[in-house]
């Protein structure tokens, strides 16, 4: 069963803390994505990556950075967490032949106090 695994399901952090969200996929997919999900706003793309060490900004990259040192791992970093970054974060991956056919992880719910 193919999988996208987000290691932290629930996190509570304080304002100003650095936050790492980890995502690992076992499908040998080239493409990986980070979205945030907020009620009424759907899924908004933060960053994506088409290859190792490659990253592209999505629609809402401000306040976030990413790292992709290995093909299977894509990390989202909040350098200094703020309360408006309280959200559900979803990682996804897709193959090059079906770049728009996404497999999602279960999500990481982040609360920033």
């Amino acid at each position: 069963d193919v999988k996208v695994t987000q290691s932290s399901r629930y996190l509570v952090k304080r304002t100003g803390e650095k936050v790492f969200l980890e995502c690992v996929q076992d499908m040998d997919h080239e493409n990986m994505f980070w979205y945030r999900q907020d009620p009424g706003l759907g899924l908004r793309l933060i960053y994506f990556s088409y290859d190792v060490k490659m990253k592209e900004k999505g629609d809402i990259p401000e306040g976030y950075s990413v790292s992709r040192e290995k093909k299977e791992r894509f990390s989202l970093i909040l350098e200094s967490a703020s309360t408006n970054q309280t959200s559900m974060y979803l990682c996804a991956s897709s193959p090059p032949s079906g770049a728009n056919v996404l497999t999602f992880g279960a999500g990481s719910r982040l609360t920033v106090l």
């Binding site: 996208v4 009424g40 706003l41 759907g42 899924l43 908004r44 793309l45 994506f48 979803l90 996804a92 770049a99 728009n100 056919v101 996404l102 497999t103 999602f104 992880g105 279960a106 999500g107």
Partner: protein, 112 residues
């Protein structure tokens, strides 16, 4: 031009009804229109998708209707209580770099 507008935001139907969720887009370059289903505590999962060369696609209890001239597409569900979930439509094409443009989501509740 890159927006996908989804309605309604929430929908409650009695068991045996046929919930319909609608999406509209503006970009005529879009050529792939998927629907994703999300249960609580889970990530979205691809449910069904359509391309503009057909007007309807059915998979099990789920049907997509596609109206190219109106730039609209809809999801129809022959419902079961287990279909209570959040549904997202999306669209992509060459000028979105094949990135999915998402609707805002519809929370569907089916009352037994």
């Amino acid at each position: 031009q890159q927006q996908v507008k989804q309605s309604p935001q929430s929908l409650i139907v009695q068991k045996g009804g046929i919930p319909i969720i609608n999406c509209a887009y503006e970009n005529t370059a879009f050529d792939y229109f998927p629907w994703y289903q999300q249960f609580p505590g889970k990530g979205p999962a691809l449910l069904i998708a359509i391309r503009p060369d057909v007007s309807e696609k059915k998979e099990g209890r789920f049907t997509i209707s596609f109206n190219k001239s109106a730039k609209q597409f809809s999801l129809h569900i022959m419902d079961q209580p287990g279909d209570s979930a959040t549904y997202f439509c999306a669209a992509s094409g060459w000028d979105s770099n094949y990135q999915l443009i998402w609707g805002a989501g519809t929370k569907l509740i089916i009352k037994p």
